[in-house]
Amino acid sequence: MEEKVEIIATDEKQEFIVNMGPQHPSTHGVLRLVVSLQGETVKNIQPHIGYIHRGIEKMCESITYPQIIHLTDRMDYLSAHQNNESVCLLVEKALEVDIPDRIKVIRTIMSELSRLQSHQLFWATFGMDLGGQTCYFYGLRDREMILDIFEETTGGRMIVSYNCPGGLMYDIHPNFQKRVKDFIKYFRKKLPEYDTILTGNVIFRERTSGIGPLTLQDAISYGITGPSARASGLSCDVRKHEPYSAYDKVKFNEVLFSEGDTYHRYMARNDEMRQSMNTIEQLIDNIPEGPYAVKMKPVIKLPEGEYFQRVETARGELGLFVISDGNKNPYRVKFRSPNFVNLGVLNHLAKGFKIADLIAIAGSLDFVIPDMDR
């Protein structure tokens, strides 16, 4: 009701209301943006979410902890591995299970591969949002190779469900190390191509630099995380500040910029691809021997209490909060999903810019809609 009143009110101000979505090529899913325009200039944006709400948090209350993992795949499907990991880490922390190094290292490699393919898809779709359709095919060509590696080891390409409380579902495929090394060798050669076709392009620079600047102050007050916040200079990498799995053993740089515009949000992801490759290279030859899973009780029950675990997904910080009453099902589960929080800043960033800039800004925040709605 409130929404209706406001639309009528803005109509009297001679503003042009355009509904972008839920079916729109650039909202990357079923996000609906009610955009009021004055000419080409964006005056106000009202995001409407909930078109793909599945009640994952409520569903989690009636299933066991190992089952929750399979739901988390369906939230941010491009960071499926990190989502899985958050549940496993939380359960292991609550039950105080010691995890062997082999599992930690494999989890880290898998997380970084996930991040890599997510940023590749970001690059591909961001290029397409700006009208460069060739980028899409370049990005997907290289992403296929990572998905093939996933498929060989985990059996799934996007929905991997590779983690389980206490370790991994299965051991890595014998080809895994070789294929990952081959891929990194290949991708190091291909990454400069990305820069040639998009980063160095004068039209791309014009379209992105100075567009939708996010100050450090705003990044903190809106709670932005992930590469979008690091482009504004906010050091918020969970992998650095609260290392989990094997992140305390590897050397990598937290990519930080201070400008915070669309171009630097893009560059932050672009540079993170290089950092991810460095991380994988440090670990891939040193996977320790050992079991791929620790024996857990057949029915996992968390002791009564409240637990919190955060991981760094490709889009920002995923927080998992669980209240347990000692049963095999959690009493309450809450996901702090990075996309939902990052969406909040869209209106602030895009106000006063053109429609085309709105698409660029939304693209640079790299939304995955199922993660917002859960």
């Binding site: 650039s26 080409e40 359709q133 085309a356």
Partner: protein, 378 residues
């Protein structure tokens, strides 16, 4: 004897059959005279109009379908794909299959749309296309109309296509369409200026606006070589602004699929959508033809000074092949633009035109006039 004309008609065919390739008027003049002798001048005109009209319809369809296919193959080549390869060898019949599909598709009526304007908009775009195609010299003597203000006529006619686009956007009762149409209006009105001025530079050099004479004047050398640097600048400006004029990437603001879904033809379906789609490609063909005619010598072969042997080999290639080759070279450049560059924003697009291309163009005209006055061109 009533059948005297047959003798004169046959006599026109004596000699090698391929001589028509080099001078098409050898074929058309006897036919015209025969018609004039057999029926009244009025019916001659009617018959000739019908024949030329049918030929243009066929030409339009063939070129349109071929360009759609070519675009899909070129973009596939750039994007590491194969492109259409199922229907016919190398998928050459794919576009025909697409056309048949579009012909049979339902035309969805739009609620609250202005149905009269909505229905005539695609036809306006198509008619404008035909009018422009008629004035282009395709080969020596292969020319539907050839009058003294040819290039002026083409400019005037091709700028009318914006009317169809604006009508389509306005009558669709869709906000995306309206924004797309308004963008397209602003864009075409701005870039029409650059196109006109770039072509005026060449008109100054050639001293005529008649297309056949412009081509004839390039017998000794194409204008892009004759006119020194101003002609090259004019050529570059022409290619950029004609890409904008026909709403193609990186200037495809009017249909910017990531912002406005499909711009002004969002609400069209079936064959009416196909009309817009074909018209877009024929527009590309027209602007490439003009570029080839004005800058690259039209159907005129490539000659180097006194190199007789080389010139003879070049003359051996028929004029129509020269014309098609040059046109498709320009089309290929325009296609490369689209598939390698991201899209500009509407204000950047207008800035490019009014702050850069237009002043450069005006100075360029001055320089060219000076060159022509002093006789410094070749």
């Amino acid at each position: 004897m009533r059948f005297d004309f047959i003798a004169s008609y046959v006599s026109a065919f004596t000699g090698p059959w391929w001589k028509f390739l080099y001078d098409f008027s050898l074929l058309t003049t006897p036919v015209h005279e025969w018609l004039n002798g057999s029926v009244s001048p009025f019916w001659t005109t009617v018959i000739e109009m019908v024949v030329v009209g049918v030929v243009f319809l066929l030409f339009y369809a063939v070129v349109g379908l071929f360009l759609v296919y070519a675009e899909r193959k070129v973009c596939a080549f750039i994007q590491n794909r194969l492109g259409p390869n199922r229907i016919g060898p190398y998928g050459i019949f794919q576009t025909i299959a697409d056309l048949v599909k579009l012909l049979f598709k339902e035309i969805i009526p739009i609620k609250n749309a202005d149905s009269l304007l909505f229905n005539i908009a695609p036809y306006i775009v198509i008619i404008v296309n035909f009018m422009a195609l008629a004035a282009i010299p395709y080969a020596n003597g292969l020319h539907a109309i050839d009058f003294n203000i040819g290039i002026f006529y083409i400019l005037a006619v091709s700028s009318m296509s914006v009317v169809g686009v604006l009508l389509a956007g306005w009558s669709s009762n869709s906000k995306y369409s309206l924004i797309g149409a308004m963008r397209s209006g602003a864009q075409i009105v701005s870039y029409e200026l650059s196109i006109g001025l770039a072509l005026i530079t060449i008109v100054i050099l050639s001293g005529t606006m008649q297309l056949s004479e412009i081509v004839e004047a390039q017998r000794t050398g194409w204008f892009i070589f004759k006119g020194h640097i101003p002609a090259i600048i004019a050529f570059i400006i022409y290619v950029i602004s004609s890409t904008a004029e026909i709403n193609r990437g990186p200037f495809d603001m009017a249909e910017a699929e990531s912002e406005l879904t499909a711009g002004y033809h969002t609400e069209y379906s079936g064959i009416k959508f196909a009309f817009f789609y074909l018209a877009e490609y024929i527009n590309m063909f027209i602007v490439a033809s003009i570029a080839a005619t004005m800058f690259l010598g039209g159907w005129m072969p490539f000659h180097i000074g006194n190199l007789e042997g080389f010139n003879m080999v070049m003359d051996f290639i028929p004029p129509f092949i020269w014309y098609i080759g040059k046109t498709f070279f320009i089309i290929w450049i325009i296609m490369l633009f689209k598939w390698t560059f991201p899209r500009l924003r509407i204000d950047q697009l207008l800035t490019l035109e009014w702050k850069y291309l237009l002043p450069i163009n005006l100075v360029n005209i001055l320089v060219m006039s000076f060159l022509v006055l002093k006789g410094w061109h070749f």
